[in-house]
């Protein structure tokens, strides 16, 4: 038995983005040991460099033909770097760039250990990257854990703040329980299908003989951990508490990167592994989507804390992103409708990443002046920092789906389109009503920015350069996507044709 035959052959090129990020993580961890305290912020540019290189490599892979590796047999591979995976990875990596920029000043303000912070962050990103490429249940689960576990620590990293620890605890406990449920589901899926490979699972599930109650239950239980990651109701309750307690850049990370990973896993499970059961999980997802957006929006109406508001808003947004998956509920069963749904999900996710990170960036910028993050602190922001106010209002408009931030509008439009295409008018109507509810809190927040101020004018505190950079990046992306959303539409289209 030679070494070659014992181990799988590995196509390192396919792994490039994940490898680069993992390498950078280690590098940062090690370099941090040698850096003097004053130099520790260098972790930021170092991590940025790594992530950007990974991003470039991901783009390069997108142009190439799909690469598969860790194959059990030519057809069954655990890791596939196709355009679908690259699409998620690009969202993850690009968002990470922004998160890294946001963290620079938080490190100093909250006395976070720079090396560990970046290591953990990048480790989590590695999980997100492998998630998108994984094609078996085990890899998906491990990736899920890799995304989560460093994140627990990141949330609790403000070690002098009790709330940070509490947030980490809640996040951890809910995560662990959700994972356990997922594992139960996976074990039953394995029991039913005898395989962990998504393709083989799908093949097995196509057999009418598997149509048993346990199969359906197994499938929905499997979704639990991922539903937890994307903060779908009823797996959402950790979100506001955790976001509030976590360092704000980490909250931003959770709301975008970690959520993207969750969606990647969800889409892979549903669209690849459990596709034959679309009629079963379709209605479940539709109902979850409705519950998620409604609960998120309703509770968001009553928030006074900016980060908590964004947390609930991100719950609601997750509901919108889930909507296309609910299209399977129509039983319309058209393949192209499901493809369009997947594409819509990607489009929304990409635009959501940009606009939500932008909103978080603005909140961080404001938070340096009023760390309490009460919505009242935002009154009259326009008179103190007009540009910041305008940009924040822009992002809020985007989240609400209103012009001039047409990008947000198009995100919703694509989702609506998928739903209408899937013949689920009631779901579309519910979402329509929800957008109206959501508008209330976005609009009143945006409006407060331009109202009279309650704070006495203090010396204008400039927004730190890195945060400015983050705002600039997100704003630029949102503006570009507002003018010409075709890019993201097309990319999503190509990505979903991958499988």
């Amino acid at each position: 038995m030679t070494l070659v035959s014992v181990t799988q052959s590995v196509n390192l090129v396919a792994l490039l983005p994940a490898l680069i990020v993992a390498g950078t993580a280690l590098l940062v961890l090690v370099a941090d040991l040698f850096w003097a305290p004053a130099q520790r912020w260098l972790s930021v540019p170092l991590s940025l460099a790594g992530v950007v290189v990974a991003l470039v490599s991901a783009f390069a892979l997108a142009r190439a033909t799909p690469r598969a590796t860790f194959c059990l047999s030519p057809g069954a591979c655990s890791y596939v770097e196709d355009r679908f995976a690259v699409a998620f990875q690009v969202i993850v990596l690009a968002s990470t760039v922004v998160v890294l920029l946001l963290g620079r000043h938080e490190l100093a303000d909250s006395r976070l250990p720079a090396g560990e912070y970046h290591f953990l962050l990048l480790a989590s990103v590695v999980g997100a990257l492998t998630m998108a490429s994984s094609r078996d249940l085990l890899s998906l689960l491990v990736s899920l854990e890799v995304v989560s576990l460093p994140a627990f620590v990141l949330v609790g990293l403000r070690r002098d703040d009790a709330r940070s620890a509490e947030a980490a605890l809640k996040f951890f406990l809910i995560s662990v329980i959700a994972t356990a449920v997922t594992l139960m589901g996976m074990s039953l899926v394995y029991g039913v299908t005898g395989s962990l490979q998504l393709d083989q699972v799908a093949t097995a599930l196509s057999d009418p003989a598997t149509r048993q109650p346990v199969t359906s239950a197994a499938i929905v239980l499997t979704l639990a951990g991922f539903a937890f990651k994307v903060s779908a109701v009823p797996f959402h309750a950790w979100v506001p508490d955790t976001y509030q307690g976590a360092p704000v850049p980490v909250a931003a990370f959770l709301s975008v990167v970690s959520k993207t990973a969750g969606f990647a896993g969800l889409v892979l499970l549903l669209m690849v592994g459990f596709r034959p059961y679309a009629d079963v999980w379709g209605p479940v997802l539709a109902v979850l989507a409705v519950l998620t957006m409604t609960a998120g929006n309703l509770v968001a109406l009553r928030q006074r804390h900016a980060v908590r508001l964004l947390a609930w808003s991100s719950v609601a947004q997750a509901g919108y992103i889930l909507v296309p998956l609910g299209v399977a509920a129509s039983g319309y069963g058209r393949t192209n409708a499901l493809g369009a749904a997947e594409s819509a999900l990607l489009v929304y996710l990409a635009i959501y990443a940009a606009m939500n990170l932008g909103a978080f960036a603005c909140v961080i910028a404001v938070g340096r002046r009023s760390p309490g993050q009460l919505l009242g602190d935002y009154r009259g922001l326009a008179s103190r920092q007009p540009l910041l106010a305008v940009v924040l209002a822009f992002f809020l408009a985007a989240l609400a789906g209103l012009p001039p931030a047409v990008a947000g509008l198009f995100a919703k439009l694509t989702v609506f389109r998928a739903v209408i295409d899937g013949h689920l008018p009631w779901l579309a109507a519910v979402m329509a009503v929800n957008t109206v509810i959501a508008l209330y809190y976005y609009a009143t927040w945006a409006f407060a920015l331009f109202g009279p101020t309650t704070l006495e004018p203090a010396a204008a505190r400039t927004v730190p350069s890195f945060v400015t950079g983050a705002i600039a990046v997100t704003a630029t992306v949102t503006v570009v996507l507002s003018v010409y959303p075709e890019w993201v539409l097309r990319a999503a289209d190509l990505a979903t044709r991958a499988h």
Partner: protein, 545 residues
């Protein structure tokens, strides 16, 4: 790009540029606003005359002499080019319905790729139906900005105000220019945000934020349903382009469902009873120019959409829902008038009068006839002019009296302010639909349409609607004259005797004169509007009466 296209795009670019400039040059903001909105007005003016010129006198404003039949029809609809087959075959083209579709061709058109993936093109076009509304929008924005020169609303921040108004203009122009459902939707939405801030920041009282929020939430609800409807249409037709709107590919049931959502969407904007309650609050709180633009242009978007989108795209559903639309319209007419009779605040009164007037517009549409839709169009324009002017006047009264409660003014306004009072009298009379002034034609044609609704509609019902509408017209006169009696007439009450109130200023005169003149001109010579629209409407209805 032909010069027509340059001018057409200019309608969007000029105000957008102006908005940016106004923010960049805060000191000159108002001047920038006036200049750019003026240029936009000139722009649409040039297009207007070019459009008329392209019709070589067969259509348009000037037809004093008999014209030989057989003029080229396709040239009439869009000034050259176009889709002659469609127009020529008129009634036959539309198989089981008598609603045809508009022809989007000719030189006054821009069609560029935009969102290829979902089949959306950046398609703009001027049609006989949109042209009057485009002119109206450009004119009102220009006048509002000129008005701002001397009457800036309380709340300061003029650069922002000017920028928002210009942004509003972009949205309005875009809405009326759009020839693609998604483009239409985007521009329709563009209007919301500036108006929200206009009401919320420059509004009148402590209820302004409530009003602004109500406005934006209510209209967004409509927009959301509109988007759903559009997507349904687009996916059914396989294209979002207006020229594809035909009802093909949509089952009867689907059409009904979509029409219902569009009815809610456009009904909210119009506003149609009982979806109107955002309007009085928005109008009461909005600054004068906000009210003017709201009443003058924004409300028209709803009925415009109903005419150019809902009718051609969903012909079967249009037939199903027309009676309901008609009933709601007439309820709006009568209800609006009754509420006005008991109204104490001038601004609210005029706001409710809009419900009634737009009821006539909706009634016209609900008849599905050329006559009725022509009436709806001219009613739109007339309401824009007259109610716009009314809001200007009431705003000015409020500036002077610092109240718009009728009892607090207490009468004698015409004695105190002869010119302002006189103008108020004129406008109120125009508003009650006096023949010879613009408001009449819309009401009359709507009623005439109801007298003879499209084939397949329940004529008995429509006769009832016509009668109720007629009674509504009497009630309209009643509340307006009753308002005049309590505001304009009588002696100056003691509390105002010692107060010196300035009468109409030069700027006000300059701003209001065009509206007065147009009200008179259209009233005397409705061909100014109908000459432009009739051929397009005829194509739309496929020659239905």
């Amino acid at each position: 790009m032909s010069w027509q296209q340059v001018f057409l795009v200019g309608l969007l670019v000029l105000p957008a540029l102006g908005a940016v400039l106004a923010l960049a040059l805060p000191r000159q903001a108002v001047k920038v606003g006036v200049a750019t909105s003026g240029l936009t007005l000139v722009d649409i003016g040039v297009l207007l005359f070019a459009w008329l010129g392209a019709k070589t006198g067969t259509y348009g404003w000037f037809a004093f002499a008999p014209i030989k039949p057989g003029g080229k029809l396709q040239g009439l609809v869009y000034g050259g080019g176009g889709c002659p087959a469609l127009v020529k075959t008129g009634p036959q083209f539309v198989s089981n319905t008598d609603i045809g579709r508009l022809c989007y061709g000719g030189e006054f058109r821009v069609d560029a790729p935009w969102l290829h993936s979902i089949g959306v093109r950046f398609h703009l076009a001027i049609t006989g139906i949109s042209l009057p509304l485009l002119v109206l929008s450009a004119l009102l924005v220009f006048l509002c900005l000129v008005y701002t020169v001397s009457h800036p609303p309380a709340g300061g921040r003029l650069p922002a105000l000017v920028a928002l108004v210009l942004l509003l203009e972009v949205g309005m122009m875009g809405t009326f220019l759009a020839a693609d459902l998604i483009v239409f939707f985007v521009f329709f939405e563009v209007v919301l945000v500036p108006m929200y801030f206009l009401i919320g920041i420059w509004g009148g009282s402590d209820r302004k934020q409530y009003a602004a929020t109500k406005f934006i939430l209510y209209t967004l609800l409509g927009s959301a349903f509109m988007l759903l409807g559009f997507l349904g249409i687009g996916l059914g037709h396989g294209s979002f382009d207006f020229s594809a709107l035909s009802g093909n590919g949509l089952s009867h049931r689907t059409q009904d469902l979509i029409f219902l959502s569009l009815l809610v969407a456009f009904g909210i904007k119009t506003p149609m009873w009982p979806l109107h309650t955002w309007l009085p609050d928005a109008h009461t709180e909005a600054p004068t120019i906000g009210s003017v633009l709201l009443a003058g242009v924004l409300l028209k978007m709803g009925t415009y959409g109903l005419i150019v989108i809902a009718l051609p795209a969903l012909p079967l559903a249009a037939h199903d829902f027309a009676p309901y639309l008609g009933v709601l319209a007439v309820i709006g007419i009568v209800y609006g008038s009754l509420v006005c009779l008991a109204q104490r605040s001038l601004k609210r009164l005029i706001a409710f009068s809009s419900v009634g007037h737009m009821g006539f517009v909706l009634l016209g549409i609900s008849t599905l006839t050329t006559t009725g839709i022509n009436g709806a169009l001219i009613g739109n324009v007339a309401h824009g002019l007259i109610t716009g002017l009314l809001f200007f006047l009431v705003g000015s009264l409020k500036d002077r009296y610092h109240t718009d409660v009728i009892d607090e003014i207490g009468g004698g306004a015409q004695a105190k302010l002869p010119y302002l009072g006189g103008l108020l009298g004129f406008t109120a009379i125009a508003s009650l639909g006096l023949p010879g002034l613009a408001g009449f034609w819309g009401e009359m044609l709507a009623l005439l349409g109801a007298y003879h609704p499209a084939a397949g509609l329940n004529r008995g019902l429509y006769l009832g609607l016509m009668t109720a509408g007629g009674i509504g017209a009497v009630l309209t006169a009643a509340y307006l004259l009753w308002m005049l009696l309590r505001v304009n007439q009588g002696v100056v009450p003691p509390q105002w005797r010692a107060v010196r109130l300035p009468d109409v200023s030069l700027v006000e005169l300059v701003v209001w004169t065009p509206l007065v003149v147009l009200t008179l001109a259209i009233g005397v010579y409705p061909r100014i509007v109908l000459g432009i629209s009739a051929a397009a409407v005829s194509a739309l209805t496929g020659g239905s009466p």
